[in-house]
């Protein structure tokens, strides 16, 4: 569970300064987290940045190492909000597969 604690870890990969523009869905994930964690939100914050971090740190080591930055955020938010009973994660994942299948059919 410490795979996020990277300070001083051996890592010889050169630091790439390549910058890819963020996809709209990635920006929306960021915005969703800000909305949900805003203390001024009507009804108060639904989650905290600390919970987001804990959720990310709880991802398996290979997911942490290889998934995109906002993919990790999204999966953490799903876990945290499911944990709190705010969302039905299974229903969301089913719906996501429906959307993916529909997209595949349209573009086949």
């Amino acid at each position: 569970m410490d795979h996020h604690d990277l300070g001083g870890s051996p890592n010889t990969t050169p630091i790439s300064q390549a910058q890819h523009p963020l996809m709209p869905w990635e920006l929306r994930v960021d915005a969703l987290l800000l909305c949900l964690s805003d203390p001024a939100r009507p009804g108060g914050a639904l989650m905290t940045v600390d919970e987001l971090r804990r959720g990310i740190e709880s991802l398996p080591a290979d997911a942490y190492a290889t998934w995109g930055y906002y993919s990790r955020w999204l999966h953490s938010m799903l876990s945290i909000l499911a944990e709190k009973g705010v969302i039905d994660r299974d229903a969301i994942e089913r719906r996501a597969r429906e959307l993916a299948d529909a997209h595949e059919r349209e573009h086949a």
Binding site: S16, Q19, A31, G68, L74
Partner: protein, 193 residues
């Protein structure tokens, strides 16, 4: 990027949509609040930080206040930074500063906007604390050994801005012209201006 990783990103686009739809349907948030937040994120960018740096270069009183309480000083310029707790660290002849968040990617987003990908990357987070001079060299930055390199690991509630040294030969420039010299990476500390 591996094929499996690309697939994960593609399916996450649909997952985000399904997630957002569920939150909207449950009345947990409104589309308007999401749109407003995206708009706001675009308004935060390094030009805001450049205004702060240029003002500190021309106004010694402002600079003193900035180093004492970064958020309060930034608000003097009409930049609303919400709950940001900003610590400003000054580059001098004696010391060069560089910022990292080894544990995740904490960054003064309310002032500078979203961090660059390299700042969030495993190699930067792993190496800059232990081998800062080597990492700076990867950015083309060389600090002589008679200057200290000070690393700041943003592990908790503070967020950091490096106040770069004012470049030589800029005495005749206006404040607006000075702003154009200030770069994002200069305010993170991986480059000298």
């Amino acid at each position: 990027m591996s094929a499996a990783h690309e697939h994960a990103d593609r399916s996450d686009e649909f997952l985000e949509q399904a997630f957002r739809e569920a939150l909207l349907a449950a009345g947990v948030l409104t589309q308007q609040s999401v749109d407003e937040r995206v708009e706001f994120m675009y308004s935060r960018n390094p030009a805001l930080g450049a205004r702060v740096v240029a003002r500190a270069w021309v106004d010694p009183g402002f600079k003193t206040r900035l180093l004492a309480d970064g958020s309060a000083a930034v608000r003097e310029l009409g930049i609303e930074v919400g709950a940001l707790k900003l610590v400003v660290v000054e580059n001098t002849a004696e010391a060069h500063n560089v910022i990292v968040c080894t544990l995740c990617s904490c960054y003064p987003r309310m002032l500078l906007g979203l961090p660059p990908e390299w700042y969030k990357s495993a190699p930067y987070r792993s190496r800059v604390v232990a081998q800062p001079r080597e990492v700076l060299a990867e950015f083309g930055t060389h600090i002589s050994n008679d200057r200290a390199v000070r690393v700041h690991d943003s592990t908790a509630d503070m967020r950091y801005l490096v106040l770069p040294m004012r470049p030589e030969g800029t005495e005749g420039l206006t404040e607006a012209e000075l702003q154009t010299l200030v770069t994002r990476d200069g305010m993170i500390g991986t480059v000298k201006l």
